[in-house]
Amino acid sequence: MKLVTAIIKPFKLEEVRQALTDLGFQGMTVSEVKGYGRQKGHTEIYRGAEYAVNFLPKVKIEVAVQTTDVTRAVEAIVTAAKTGQIGDGKIFVTAIEHTVRIRTGETDDTAL
């Protein structure tokens, strides 16, 4: 099993979710994060005080998939999340050694 982690623009979340659901992926975890890559932040001024805001709001999605599904999942995310402008985000794929569904105690592929 692999964990596909994608950091995307917040307003793309809904499209990505839809794309994954359409392919039959049944679960996902989302968190609000901030980050920067090529795309940098901006400056905010509050009365006299200037602050550099280096981080932009992003959404991190994590989808655990069977190893054989990784490519489909990644492609679906790329297609749905792309605007073609900097800040579109990144995808990281990492290995999951073991999975458990808490409710049933099922493990690994059957737990996905």
Partner: protein, 488 residues
């Protein structure tokens, strides 16, 4: 229960009529009674000034700090209101608004502690001959002024003072700085005493001896006033007493307590400009009680003060917005509401004296001047007046206090200065008045400045002013109060 005290004892229609006349024009009778319209207005004005303070000021300030210090700000403001209002009843009202002994030019006396001399039918004069309001209403109204003034200070050293230090500082400051200044600027014998004494002088006719006696009596009446009042300084609702006073005390506190950890390096962006906007709006709404209530009557002057308070604020908000747009390229909400507060501050001493057009000019000036100060001048000096108490309240207050001497000029649509001895508005000498206003400003800066230095030092020696670096990092909400503001 004596709720009908104001009618009891009146037994005939004639007596009633007499009493009513007295009520309207008490110069002709012994005991003026309050007009209920005035009473109603004073009561609601007091409520409005509390609204300005909690939640108004507390939110205006609170929104500007980081969320880890939100409760500490709210607590400091709320505590200030509580401790000061209790002190006000205990001895504050007495030493501010009761005739003192040898130092009556500077501070009042102790004869009215615990409000022991105040009854439900006690009255105090307003600024019109023969018009009075219930003394309890005056006590309440002035109590709210005593409460908000020290609360303004806390913004200057926000996010780093120890609560225990503040808890000691506030009662000391209000006692040794606020009460004397309020006494010096606002304590006087009242219109009827002066007018009556002046009439006695006239009545004395040409008999030199009689005139001398009457004149001496008039002099005594005139002498029974605070020092700054006697100079002839005018301050409608507290430009000196409230804003310059608190502003300079704030600056000194900010400098003596030192900069916040991380100042200039870490982001200290306001945690909720929404709260700041709510606070600014409530300040505006409540300030009508503050300024228009300072007329002490529900009359045309109060209405004028309201219009002035409205448009000076609006003009200052627009001025700040425009200045920011020109200089930074984008007008911010924080800028706009800061401008509004600057306008409110500046129009405070002028509210019942200037005309509406003059107030718009004053507001525009306040917006530009305070903007420049907060966004440029301040950064040059590098002190950490966290919420710009000095840049808005002291700078705006000085501008307003001095400009009041200009805008009161009938030539500029102002009301002029009424002379209770002659019964009419004096010929106006602008330069003279401006100089007097400057003297009043200087006196306030000096007294409050020196007094504050001494009191901060004292508190620092006794219990220490400042939180530790770790406490500051963690946030005063947890370390001083054991709570967090938000658990979403």
């Amino acid at each position: 229960m004596t709720r009908d005290r104001d009618s009891s004892g009146v037994k005939t229609a004639l007596a009633t009529a007499a009493l009513m006349l007295a009520g309207a024009l008490p110069a002709f009778a012994d005991a003026p009674v309050p007009n209920k319209g005035d009473t109603s207005w004073m009561l609601i004005s007091s409520a409005l000034v509390l609204l300005m303070t909690v939640p108004g000021l507390a939110l205006f300030y609170g929104g500007l700090v980081r969320s880890k210090n939100m409760l500490s700000i709210l607590m400091q403001v709320f505590y200030t209101v509580c401790i000061v209002s209790v002190i006000w009843v205990l001895y504050g009202y007495s030493i501010t608004f009761t005739e003192g002994t040898s130092f009556n030019s500077i501070i009042g006396g102790f004869t009215n502690t615990f409000l022991k001399a105040v009854k439900v039918d006690s009255t105090v004069g307003t600024f019109s001959n023969g018009v009075v309001i219930p003394e309890y209403a005056y006590v309440a109204f002035q109590m709210t002024f005593a409460a908000i003034t020290p609360a303004l200070i806390v913004g200057a050293f926000a996010e780093r003072i120890k609560f225990s230090a503040l808890a000691l500082f506030i009662p000391l400051w209000v006692t040794f700085v606020y009460f004397p200044i309020a006494h010096m600027v606002w304590y006087w014998a009242g219109p009827d005493a002066i007018t009556d004494a002046a009439k006695a002088v006239t009545a004395a006719g040409t008999d030199a001896a009689k005139v001398a006696v009457a004149q001496a009596a008039l002099d005594v009446v005139n002498a029974n006033a605070g020092m700054v009042f006697k100079w002839g300084a005018i301050d409608f609702a507290g430009g000196t007493v409230v804003h310059i006073n608190a502003g300079i005390a704030g600056l000194i506190g900010a400098m003596m307590i030192g900069k916040r950890v991380g100042f200039g390096k870490e982001s200290m962006a306001p945690h909720s400009l929404t709260m700041t906007m709510i606070g600014a709006s409530l300040l505006w709404v409540g300030w009508f009680g503050f300024n228009a209530g300072s007329a002490l009557e529900a009359n045309g002057v109060a209405a004028l003060a309201m219009v002035n308070t409205f448009v000076a604020t609006a003009a200052a908000a627009l001025a700040w917005m425009i200045a920011e747009n020109v200089e930074k390229g984008r007008p911010s909400l924080l800028g706009m509401v800061s401008g509004a507060v600057a306008g409110l501050v500046a129009v405070t001493p002028a509210a019942g004296y200037a005309g509406p057009a003059g107030s718009i000019v004053l507001g525009l000036m306040a917006g530009f001047v305070c903007f420049s100060f907060c966004s440029t001048v301040k950064n040059k000096f590098g002190y950490d007046d966290a919420l710009d108490v000095f840049g808005v309240h002291c700078v705006g207050g000085i501008l307003g206090a001095i400009m009041t001497g200009v805008l009161v000029n009938p030539k500029f649509g102002g009301q002029g200065i009424f002379n209770y001895e002659t019964g009419k508005v004096d010929d106006f000498e602008m330069m003279k008045q401006v100089i007097i206003q400057c003297k009043a400003v200087g006196m306030t800066l000096l007294w409050s400045g020196l007094g504050s230095i001494i009191l901060y030092k004292l508190v620092d020696i006794l219990i220490g002013l400042r939180s530790t670096v770790d406490e500051e990092r963690e946030g005063l909400d947890i370390t001083d109060h054991g709570e967090r503001a938000y658990n979403y």
